[in-house]
């Protein structure tokens, strides 16, 4: 009797312990499953991110790279990379990366677009000596310099700012640190091309407008038309631009261009030097503005690229003695953008620029003293936000791609 009771007790207790331990075991297993699942998702995501970074690096090093990867073992899982051309005309590409780890798959999609110098609000190879970005300086769009980035009393940069070299503070980080509202990176090497302006000739020969064989070309944009002459005293001749330059490129070979007017449509003017220091320079004789100001009408399609192999100068003349309005993206391959006779010309008001400046060497537009401007211009530079997504025709490109969208 007592033997049976003991047996029943042992069996009963064993059953209770089994049920309780099973419950505890289940809870533990589910907790571990939960942890493992989160871990697997995290690792698969990391693999996909790594794949996207590898693909981006390949595209930056070789813009023609399109081979992708298939089932490559990585970090205990696998990654697949596929490259697709979404828009052959605009050369928009998308990389799709899948990272797989123990049954979990994460996907990252990255879009790339050709990078144009016109997207910069400010670009320079050389800052032209020890010039500091100061408290009164604000740059409204992307910024890059190949030189040192010198900051004094918190200049403001609304777009992404990058430098090839490094950031130098006038006194200390606390006193001078710039406000980077669009991010900051250093060690970014983005050189200007050596012959982008002279290479425009081939494009102009194809379907653009070309001036050659003259020392100087005087150009006046007049809406759809372009008036031109070769001597100051000559009468103007005229081209109807949509038929004279259907691809939007106007090229002046080995000469000096003097320009002004109102631009309707999308045009780039290129001016080469033929290795002559006095040529390949564009003078702005008066306002050069859009027919439709995009700040007033955001649907404006007017764009202008002003591309000189050497310099772009604001002419020292009477029309430019009380402000100058410039709408367009200025590109100076071997020189810079400045004001003619900047240190001797009278106080001339403001440079109201809507666009960007891409230059080899920073140049002066005036002189300043403790009481303010002593000669030349004050700067009122406003970035044309449309340049983030649009570019004047055949504006020099960086030769590479940039990431425009990242989905994960």
């Amino acid at each position: 009797m007592s033997g049976k009771a003991t047996l029943l007790l042992i069996v009963g207790f064993s059953l209770i312990f089994l049920v309780v331990s099973k419950n505890f075991g289940d809870v533990s297993n589910r907790a571990v499953d939960n942890f493992v699942n989160y871990y697997s998702e995290t690792v698969s995501h990391d693999i996909a991110i790594s794949g996207a970074n590898i693909a981006a690096n390949n595209i930056f090093l070789d813009p023609t790279w399109n081979s992708g990867y298939s089932n490559v073992p990585f970090q205990g899982g696998y990654l697949d990379v596929q490259l697709q051309v979404l828009d052959p005309f605009r050369n928009i590409r998308e990389v799709t990366v899948q990272g797989t780890f123990y049954g979990n798959t994460s996907t990252v999609k990255v879009k790339f677009a050709p990078s144009k110098f016109s997207k910069f609000a400010y670009y320079s190879v050389s800052e032209g000596g020890t010039i500091w970005w100061t408290q009164s300086d604000t740059v409204w769009g992307p910024f890059h310099t190949q030189d040192y980035f010198r900051a004094h009393k918190h200049p403001v940069f609304y777009g992404k700012a990058t430098t090839k070299r490094s950031l130098i503070y006038y006194t200390s980080e606390a006193a001078d640190k710039p406000l980077f509202l669009g991010g900051y990176d250093q060690g970014i090497d983005l050189p200007l091309p050596a012959n982008a302006v002279s290479e425009m000739e081939v494009i102009a020969d194809d379907d653009g407008l070309k001036f050659s064989g003259h020392d100087t070309v005087y150009i006046t944009f007049a809406g759809d038309s372009l008036r031109y002459r070769y001597r100051y005293s000559d009468p103007d001749s005229s081209y109807y631009l949509p038929t004279a330059a259907p691809n939007g490129l106007i090229f002046a070979k080995n000469c000096v261009v003097r320009m002004k007017g109102t631009v309707k449509g999308q045009y780039t003017i290129g001016c080469s030097s033929g290795m002559s220091a006095g040529k390949g320079t564009i003078y702005l004789d008066n306002d050069i503005v859009f027919h439709t100001d995009p700040r007033i009408d955001p649907t404006s399609n007017d764009l202008l690229g002003i591309c000189a192999e050497n310099n772009v100068y604001i002419t020292d003349n009477i029309p430019n003695r009380s402000d100058i309005n410039i709408h367009g993206s200025i590109y100076c391959e071997k020189g810079g953008f400045g004001a003619q006779n900047y240190s001797t010309r009278p106080i001339s008001g403001n440079i109201n620029l809507l666009g960007g400046i891409i230059q080899n060497t920073r140049k002066a537009v005036g002189t300043f003293g403790s009481s303010g401007i002593k000669s030349g211009f004050a700067k009122r530079y406003k970035y044309d936000e449309r340049l983030m997504v649009a570019s004047p025709p055949f504006f020099p490109g960086t030769g590479g791609f940039e990431i425009v969208s990242w989905y994960e």
Partner: protein, 199 residues
């Protein structure tokens, strides 16, 4: 009935009593352990869910399926404070930007739960009515860092300065045996929403 039988009965009663006490104690302990372990499991699942949702959403700050419609992602963060953030992203991939607002409700909202510290973490898309969902969140703390990696004081007056975020989430069990609440903590030390650094 002899002495030895009496001794057997008394011994049985004593041993049976001890066993009953053990069983009773076991039942109590098993109930407590089951309650707390199940709570911890829920806690862990809640934390993993919160982490996955936050990672999913925050990684998309500034994303737009048509990049030309939102070319400057540095403008994506609209408001940033210690426990509240508002930003835009293309959530449904229709190339229209949606706003997402995360914020933590007050403890008084969850008076129905035994835990006095749990709060509702709200996720509000566009102008939708906030929908509460209690995952036992007791802390949701955000820290913001600029491009140099320096922390930005909150509330952030210039959201464009933000280059990366730190996300801290603490969750507790909403109910516990003998008010022994379990807690768990998740931190994303530096979440860099990649679109903030584009262009």
């Amino acid at each position: 009935m002899g002495f030895s039988t009496m001794l057997d009965i008394m011994g049985s009663i004593i041993i049976g009593g001890i066993l009953m006490m053990i069983t009773w104690r076991l039942s109590d302990a098993a109930t407590a352990k089951t309650y707390n372990n199940s709570g911890e499991l829920s806690l862990q699942q809640n934390l993993a869910t919160v982490a996955q949702i936050l990672e999913h959403d925050f990684r998309k700050i500034g994303y737009c399926s048509d990049w030309t419609k939102f070319p400057d992602p540095s403008k994506a963060i609209i408001y940033a404070d210690t426990s509240e953030i508002i930003y835009v992203t293309d959530l449904d991939l229709d190339a229209d930007m949606d706003s997402i607002r995360y914020y933590l409700g007050p403890t008084s909202e969850l008076y129905g739960t035994p835990n006095p510290r749990d709060r509702v973490l709200y996720r509000v898309i566009n102008q939708e009515t906030p929908k509460p969902s209690n995952l036992g969140v007791t802390a949701f703390k955000l820290a913001y860092f600029d491009a140099s990696g320096d922390e930005i004081p909150t509330p952030v007056t210039v959201p464009g300065l933000i280059a990366s975020l730190e996300i801290n989430v603490a969750v507790e069990t909403v109910a516990a045996y003998d008010t022994a609440y379990s807690s768990a903590f998740w931190r994303q030390i530096r979440l860099v929403a990649r679109n903030l650094r584009n262009r």
